[in-house]
Structure formats: structure tokens, C-alpha cells
């Protein structure tokens, strides 16, 4: 039998009103604008877009504001919003080789065509807090360097030219699976794993990537290349009969180059892990590439010995919206469940005590008997 209990409506209303009040905080402090968030908390916005799996800076900024800066809550809001919109179609696969590069580094080659372009990076900062940022100090614009720029060649093309790295299999014309529209069934294709990883929790993937470096499925990775920049998005419009550009998005791509694999047919060559995420987020792209490589264990004939290689473990737990939903659901009333458990534990205790009572009595009796025997 189910008995529903009602109540709490007024408490909930007041709690939400209080939430709105606390979110706004001290009214003498100016309210944050969405432009301030997209411009000045840009990397937080990028994380919400990436794990919210929806590219829209303004929506992500709104979600961050509404969530009081709780990024997982913001990601949840964005995921919920995306379910309200119809899917118009698919974009053509982006060409990251044609990216307008804002940053490109390689840890494999010092001198490579296009050069090492540091871009706006935290690397090489001393991680000392900058007190100047406490006030709105005047900030100089970036320096410029004129002259024709070299095309920024992909590192995998350099290695691939010599056949030293595995080639990516081309398209077989099949549609890649979509985790939004198909239930997860393991083993997943690499395409579906990459989709899951692309929206996976940065912290979770970072920890798993780190675990592979510490020896749990070691893959000897090199950051072959990391590039950040804008790529053009094209969508095929059936009414026109051709694909049209609809704007640009910023992406971060990581090509991880890992230790060798060969076979009877193939000479030894480097293997690859790949990361591609929305916005500027190279920690996430690198972690994704490490996890992608680890998850290819079976395909590459490696023993599955570590969590990072276990598809079901990684993919089922990398989504922070699912994870937070299940962990936080524990807050919901479980009064009836708990009553049942209480009843059960009381019965068990009664049995325990009864048995213990009998046991203690028996012990006491045997002690008396022993004493008597000794006397």
C-alpha cells in the first residue's frame, strides 16, 4: 500500500525565495551581468558548455548566475534546457586542421611548421595571487606581431608522413551513434565513447587520466599537440541542397601520442588518444585523450587491468548530471524505507539479545560448574 503524505509547500516556496535572496546577496553590490560572466569568467562558461553538451555562451552564463557559481548545478540547468529544443539536424564534421589557431603547442617537436604558439595560457605563470586584480586596473591589450603566418601543420600529419603513427580509419559512411538517442549498450563504439567523454566530468576524467600515468594502464603518453581556436560550422540544408556555414565555435583539441603497437601485418608505430571539447579547456581535452587511449585497450590487444580501461566503469560514471542525480537523491524523503529498516534492525537486535541472553546464561552456568569442579 502507498500512502502519500503532503506538506512542505509553504516551506519550499519560502526556501526558493530565500535562495533568490542569497543568490543576489548584498544589494549594495552591483548585480553580475551575463556579459561580465561570458567575458570575465570565460573558462567557467566553457566548462558548462562542454559538460552541459550545449554550445551557447549566453545560456551557460545564465546558468552559472542562476546556480550561484555551482558549475555542476549550472551544467544540470543547461542539460535540462536542451531537452526543450527540437533537433534540426547535424553539422558536417569540423575540420580542426583549418582552425583559426589561438594556441598550439607540441611536446614532441621543438621546431614544427607553424611553431609553438603559447596563446593566452596559465602555463609559466608563478601561481602567485595578483593583488592588482582586486581593483579594476587598466589592462594593456595583447602585443601583435606582423608578418605572414605559416600554416599550422598537425603533428599527426608529420608523424603520419613517415608512417610512424597509426592511421585513423576513414569514414565507412555509417552514422555515428548518438548517446542522446540510443540506450547505452556495452561495448560502445569509439565514436560513442568519445561523445560520452566529451561531456564527461572534468574532475573524474582528470583523475582517471592521472591514474593511467601512475601505472594503472600505463600508455606512455606525449602531448603530441594541443590546439585551441575557432572552427567553422556547416550544416546541410535540404531546402538548399548544400551545406551552409552557420558561424564558428571555439574548440580545444588534444592529440596524445602513445607508445607503440605493431602486429604481424603492421610494423611498430605510435598509437593515439584523442580529445576534443567545447571552448578553451585543455586540461579536459588532455584527460579525455588519455581516457580515450586507455579505453582502446581491447582494440589494441592489451590486458584490461585498470579502471580507466573499463568502458562500463568509465562511461557509466563520467556523467556528472547522472552522478549528482543519484548521489543527491539520497536527500529525498526515504521515511517509509527507513521505517522498514528500523523495524528490521529492531527485530535483529531482539534476536541477538535473546540469543546472547541464552549464551550468557549458559556461560554463567558453565563457569559455576567449573568453579564447583575446581573446588
Amino acid at each position: 500500500m502507498y500512502v502519500s503524505v503532503k506538506g512542505g509547500e509553504a516551506a519550499i516556496d519560502n526556501a526558493h525565495r530565500l535562495l533568490a535572496d542569497r543568490r543576489r546577496g548584498d544589494r549594495s553590490v552591483p548585480a553580475l551581468t551575463l556579459d561580465q560572466i561570458t567575458e570575465q569568467l570565460a573558462l567557467g562558461v566553457d566548462r558548462v558548455m562542454s559538460e552541459g553538451s550545449l554550445y551557447d555562451r549566453r545560456l551557460a552564463a545564465l546558468a552559472i548566475k542562476q546556480a550561484r557559481g555551482d558549475l555542476i548545478e549550472a551544467i544540470f540547468l543547461v542539460r535540462a534546457y536542451r531537452t526543450t529544443l527540437p533537433r534540426f539536424g547535424f553539422a558536417e564534421p569540423v575540420d580542426t586542421g583549418a582552425m583559426l589557431v589561438e594556441r598550439r603547442i607540441s611536446a614532441c617537436y621543438k621546431d614544427l611548421p607553424g611553431g609553438q604558439l603559447l596563446g593566452p595560457t596559465f602555463d609559466y605563470t608563478h601561481r602567485l595571487l595578483d593583488e592588482e586584480l582586486e581593483v579594476d586596473a587598466r589592462i594593456e591589450p595583447g602585443r601583435m606581431r606582423e608578418g605572414a603566418s605559416e600554416p599550422v601543420t598537425r603533428i599527426v600529419d608529420i608523424l603520419g608522413g613517415e608512417g610512424l603513427i597509426e592511421e585513423e580509419p576513414g569514414t565507412n559512411g555509417e552514422e555515428p551513434g548518438d548517446i542522446n538517442q540510443t540506450p547505452l549498450e556495452f561495448p560502445l563504439s569509439r565514436a560513442m565513447r568519445l561523445q560520452s567523454l566529451a561531456r564527461g566530468d572534468e574532475g573524474f576524467l582528470l583523475a582517471l587520466g592521472y591514474s593511467t600515468q601512475r601505472g594503472y594502464a600505463r600508455s606512455h603518453p606525449f602531448a603530441g599537440e594541443i590546439r585551441i581556436g575557432e572552427v567553422e560550422i556547416e550544416v546541410y540544408l535540404p531546402e538548399l541542397g548544400f551545406a551552409v556555414p552557420v558561424g564558428r565555435v571555439q574548440l580545444t583539441e588534444c592529440q596524445m601520442v602513445n607508445q607503440f603497437k605493431g602486429s604481424a601485418k603492421l610494423p611498430p608505430q605510435f598509437t593515439r588518444g584523442y580529445g576534443l571539447v567545447f571552448g578553451q579547456s585543455e586540461r579536459k581535452a588532455m584527460a579525455m585523450a588519455l581516457c580515450d587511449r586507455a579505453l582502446r585497450a581491447e582494440e589494441l590487444g592489451e590486458d584490461i587491468v585498470a579502471p580507466a580501461q573499463d568502458q562500463e566503469f568509465v562511461i557509466s560514471h563520467c556523467d556528472n548530471v547522472q552522478a549528482t542525480g543519484f548521489v543527491e537523491h539520497l536527500k529525498l524523503p526515504h521515511y517509509v524505507d527507513f521505517q522498514a529498516e528500523l523495524g528490521l534492525v529492531r527485530t535483529m537486535r531482539a534476536e541477538f539479545e535473546r540469543a546472547n541472553g541464552v549464551f550468557q546464561q549458559a556461560q554463567a552456568e558453565s563457569a559455576i560448574e567449573k568453579k564447583e569442579a575446581a573446588e
Binding site: 553538451s53 550545449l54 534540426f88 547535424f90 589561438e102 601583435m144 584523442y274
Partner: protein
């Protein structure tokens, strides 16, 4: 004009319009003084497109995540139909881009729009790209080696 060049011109126009700020579009549009009557065939409406990458950058396609887009289709009184789709949520922009696309079916209007609207926006966008390229170029590492020893 062959179908290919016409198609390329249309694509180019759409590419420029899709990347332009709405306020800038409106400014240039109002200066043109064109005010066609039109009927909305579809939208403007918001929706999603799934963005795709390729494994390893060049391999088989996979889904990265979705992006918001706005699309619109219009029909002018003379029967020409225009379409538009642009990233983001912006009714005004999609509507205006669809009208411009429809107007450009007429070669003479297309010449006017290309000169007065598309060309200036394109040069602004290219300027912004060039600026970004130069800012990035300034962060390029120039390696130098220090020679030690005498051999």
C-alpha cells in the same frame, strides 16, 4: 553565372551574415533602404544542431555535443524564397538573413547587397581574424641555443 559560382556566392554571403553581430547587420540594412514585403514560411525558431568532430581529427565522425541555432525561411512578394540558419538564439538575425538571402536571388539587388552590406562586414571580420592571428603570433616561441664548450 554558373550554378557553382552562384552557390559559392550564396554560401559566402550566408557565412558572413551568420558571423555578424545583429546590431551591425541592422545598421547596414537600414542604410540600404530596402523594405520588401515578405511572408514567413518558417520560424524564426530556435533548435539544436549536433556538432561533429572526427576521431584523431581526420577519422570517422563522432558527436561532440549540440549547439543552439535559429533558422528562418521567408518568401518575398515576387516569389523568391530565402533561408537562414545561424548559431545562437536570435530571431531578428535569422529573419534578416533570410530576407537578405531572398533578395539576393535577384542579381541586381545581390550586387548592391554584396557591395553595401557583405563587403564591409567581411572586411571587419577578416580584420578581427588578422588581429587575432597577430596577437597569437606574438606568443610564438623563438628558440635560441646557447653554445657551450669549444668543439
Amino acid at each position: 553565372m554558373s550554378i557553382e559560382t552562384e552557390r559559392a556566392a550564396r554560401r559566402n554571403r550566408m557565412s558572413v551574415l551568420a558571423r555578424c553581430e545583429t546590431s551591425r547587420l541592422q545598421g547596414l540594412w537600414s542604410k540600404l533602404g530596402l523594405d520588401p514585403t515578405y511572408k514567413l514560411l518558417r520560424g524564426p525558431e530556435y533548435g539544436l544542431v549536433m556538432l561533429r568532430g572526427r576521431t584523431g581529427g581526420t577519422g570517422e565522425p563522432f558527436n561532440i555535443g549540440e549547439a543552439t541555432v535559429t533558422r528562418a525561411s521567408v518568401k518575398l512578394d515576387d516569389g523568391s524564397v530565402g533561408h537562414a540558419m545561424a548559431l545562437g538564439r536570435d530571431d531578428m538575425k535569422a529573419r534578416l538573413c533570410a530576407i537578405v538571402d531572398a533578395l539576393c536571388q535577384d542579381t541586381r539587388t545581390a550586387v548592391l547587397i554584396d557591395a553595401e552590406m557583405i563587403a564591409p562586414i567581411k572586411s571587419e571580420l577578416d580584420g578581427a581574424d588578422e588581429r587575432r592571428r597577430q596577437e597569437t603570433a606574438a606568443t610564438r616561441v623563438d628558440f635560441f641555443t646557447m653554445v657551450r664548450g669549444e668543439d
